[in-house]
């Protein structure tokens, strides 16, 4: 094994990712574009650091797609998948059928044989699971209507790859006995020699096996592994699970992505879901990154420069054609305009399967290199363009469209005047929102959770999907005219991010923020927010008050005690922020926490008791009466 070589390779890929992705993110381009650009720069055309092994890397990195589908499966309960069935078959089937028909007809008109045309048509009708899902995920679009439909189509395409692989050899005019070194699934499988009916039985029983094993075997095994309390063992088991299923499905001629997806769906209800997600996620991320770098590096720029016109024309017509077909389908399936734009733009490219299928078709002599070479470049370009299109759509088109559905009612003038933006509508924000709503205050809600968002929409709320720390989303929600921004999300870091962005661009806007605890409250106050609400403070106080009552204090006395406590605590909170700043430099966070608490306890001991005794029947009054 060439150890040093391996390290140099790993170093270059990782360095490319670490340098390019943060820059791309900062520029708002997203990680997919970042990886692609890194690939282009490192590729043979510019730096020539990678590229020779590009194809191999890509095949290896495709395993990232497999992992991604496993993760998606984990988020998708069987019930939910069943609900998607009409989209999968209707939209997915429709898309593939229409696209391959149109491309075939164009091919025949262009003078190709019908067999070759059909092969091209089928191959080009497949979109890129990797690019689409990663781009949607990163833009927080996966759970939108358009995102869901895109996913349904991709799922159908993944299933369709198997029959396409089966059909292509039949299209060959002359059967060749060429070398079949490329690891194309059908040829290396156990079942290729069997009769068709036997194949079917084997495939079906493998699927049934995955379902049954997932249901009854995986959980007890995972439990035993979890009990060892060795984190790395669970990681190993997670990887083993994914790899085993991928291998098994490949061996029976199924798509590995589909197999792991199925396994994911079955495990979606299990208690180990989050563990599995946490363990697989980093691997998936790295492999997907690797995959995108490889795609970037594989774009043959010398070839593009030699045939610019042909390639531009081909790419344009491929993407425009797919876009139009998808858009019409979206219309038929009642997607709203803005969701349809997401759906159609996301899927309007050739996919990574095209690389595999083209080389397969080449080996089977269905197509010649004169045809596959430009088309493979076109597919790569179209994959690289997709994230850019989605970015442009999000930046320029979507803000103009606002929400993904038409507003039910025109906001009346009172609502306009009272416009409030609530970021986060979970267990915290929903209470705030309900109270405001009950008093006719115009609300705009930003949230991640697609289920609650759908429900809120039906009730006539103005809701936007997505990450509230994005300025464009805040602007689409109307931050420039809002009276108040309420931050009720439960990640403190993100809350502070929103604060920073809102303060930077709208310094006069009032912000109210949920704070996670004492330390988080300090940080928010330090960043200039006056209205900070510690999420457990009122409840704890309430509990303390009830405890006092249980111990025999009169209700009103306990109430007043808790109210006084509250007032003093509130005051100390703001006082401590100032003194805290000076001590900050030499105290660790934990030390600081203890010291803050100590100060609070001291201050309370001094002032609390005397404060409570001053009203109504006071001791001093009795003393004065006795003296007289």
């Amino acid at each position: 094994m060439h150890g040093e070589d391996f390290f140099i390779q790993a170093f270059m890929y990782l360095a490319a990712a670490v340098i390019a992705v943060p820059i791309a993110k900062r520029l708002g381009l997203g990680s997919v574009l970042g990886y692609l650009i890194a690939g282009v720069i490192m590729g043979p055309f510019i730096l020539n650091l990678i590229g020779k092994e590009g194809q191999d890397v890509m095949h290896f990195a495709e395993f990232g797609v497999v992992m991604m589908l496993f993760l998606i499966g984990l988020e998708l309960e069987p019930r939910h998948l069943w609900r998607l069935r009409s989209s999968i078959i209707g939209m997915g089937g429709g898309q593939m059928f229409i696209t391959s028909t149109v491309v075939t007809v164009i091919g025949i008109i262009a003078g190709l044989k019908w067999q070759a045309s059909l092969a091209i048509g089928m191959i080009l009708s497949v979109s890129s699971t990797a690019v689409v899902l990663q781009s949607l995920e990163e833009r927080d679009l996966r759970k939108t209507d358009g995102g869901q439909k895109s996913f349904a189509v991709l799922l159908f395409q993944d299933m369709a790859v198997i029959p396409i692989l089966a059909v292509i050899p039949l299209l060959a005019l002359a059967v060749t006995t060429g070398h079949e070194s490329h690891a194309v699934s059908v040829d290396s499988s156990w079942v290729s020699g069997m009769a068709a009916w036997l194949q079917t039985i084997v495939v079906l029983s493998v699927v049934a096996g995955i379902i049954l094993a997932g249901r009854f075997l995986a959980r007890p095994i995972l439990r035993i592994i979890a009990q060892t309390r060795l984190r790395e063992l669970f990681t190993a088991a997670s990887l083993l699970l994914v790899i085993a299923i991928a291998l098994l499905t490949t061996k029976v001629g199924l798509s590995p992505a589909l197999g792991t997806f199925l396994a994911g769906v079955i495990l979606a209800n299990s208690e180990y879901r989050h563990e599995l997600v946490g363990n697989i996620e980093p691997f998936k991320g790295l492999l997907m990154g690797l995959f995108f770098i490889a795609v970037g590096a594989s774009i043959d720029f010398t070839y593009i420069i030699d045939h610019p016109l042909l390639l531009i024309l081909l790419t344009l017509s491929l993407m425009a054609g797919k876009f139009i077909i998808l858009f019409i389908l979206g219309k038929i399936f009642k997607l709203s305009f803005d969701q349809n734009m997401i759906f159609s733009l996301a899927l309007a490219q050739g996919g990574e399967f095209a690389f595999l299928l083209f080389s397969f078709a080449l080996h089977k002599s269905v197509l010649t290199e004169a045809i596959t070479k430009p088309l493979m470049v076109v597919v790569a370009i179209s994959m690289a363009i997709t994230p850019i299109l989605l970015l442009l759509n999000e930046k320029f088109l979507q803000p103009r469209l606002g929400t993904r559905e038409k507003e039910g009612r025109q906001a009346d003038s009172f609502q306009e005047e009272n416009s409030v933006i609530i970021a986060g509508f979970g267990r915290f924000g929903s209470i705030v929102g309900r109270l405001l709503r009950a008093h006719g205050v115009g609300l705009t809600i930003l949230d991640h959770d697609s289920n609650s968002v759908d429900m809120l929409r039906k009730l006539g709320f103005r809701v936007f999907y997505g990450d509230a720390s994005r300025l464009d989303l805040l602007e689409a929600a109307g931050i420039s005219t809002a009276k108040l921004l309420i931050i009720a999300i439960d990640e403190p870091e993100q809350a502070r991010e929103i604060v920073a962005i809102a303060q930077k661009h709208y310094p006069r806007l009032t912000i109210m923020s949920r704070a996670n605890g004492q330390q988080d409250a300090y940080e928010l106050i330090e960043s200039g927010i006056k209205n900070v609400y510690r999420e457990t403070f009122e409840t704890s106080l309430c509990m303390g008050r009830e405890a006092l009552r249980f111990l025999g204090f009169r209700a009103h006395q306990a109430h007043r005690a808790s109210m006084l406590f509250r007032r003093q605590d509130q005051r100390h909170l703001h006082e401590l922020v100032d003194t805290r700043h000076e001590r900050k430099t030499y105290l660790t966070a934990t030390r600081q926490k203890i010291e803050d608490l100590e100060r609070q306890l001291r201050q309370e001991a001094e002032s609390y008791d005397e404060q409570l005794d001053k009203s109504w029947d006071v001791d001093s009054l009795r003393r004065a009466a006795k003296e007289r």
Partner: protein
Amino acid sequence: MASVLLLFAHPAFHKSRVNKILIESVGGLDNVTIHDLYEEYPDFNIDAAREQELLESHDILIMQFPFFWYAPPALLKEWEDIVLEHGWAYGSTGKALEGKKLFCTISTGGSSQVYSKGAKRFTIRQLLAPIEKLSQLCHMDFLPPFTVHGTHLLKEEDIREHAERYRRFVFALSSEKLDCSKLEKLDTIDENADKLILKAL
């Protein structure tokens, strides 16, 4: 010029017509601090120390409120109970309010007849006996109440007239242009009180 603390207690200020205009009118004076109790302490959780500080830094105290069941709204009573502490407001060492002036501004739904002298009738000043007594105990000078009666039927121009009269009176009182010895004998500060304003104003 003497500084004025206006303790305002109105649990439904958003529905108010009369008090809204009265407050706007005196709120325009530089030496008047408006302290809206129901806005400051919606939970009745009154901060005694803060209130005492406010009282100490003003010379004249006005309690302005709508008359509910012939008495101030609940929060103002709570305020008295909590803020006027023994040893501070009264008692052998309680001299914090000594010499300060106190009067009430009251709006009533009933007409002035309801509060005129007679059998089975009490004047506003009689009904305010607890507050008059309170100011004695706290060594304050109690002045007759400023009243606006029959609020339900008042037209806006009438209210504005009352408001203007109110502003004039507060200004004259705080700039010591009033004949206080005669004032103390009045039942209410009505139109007649204008005559007590010294010409020099």
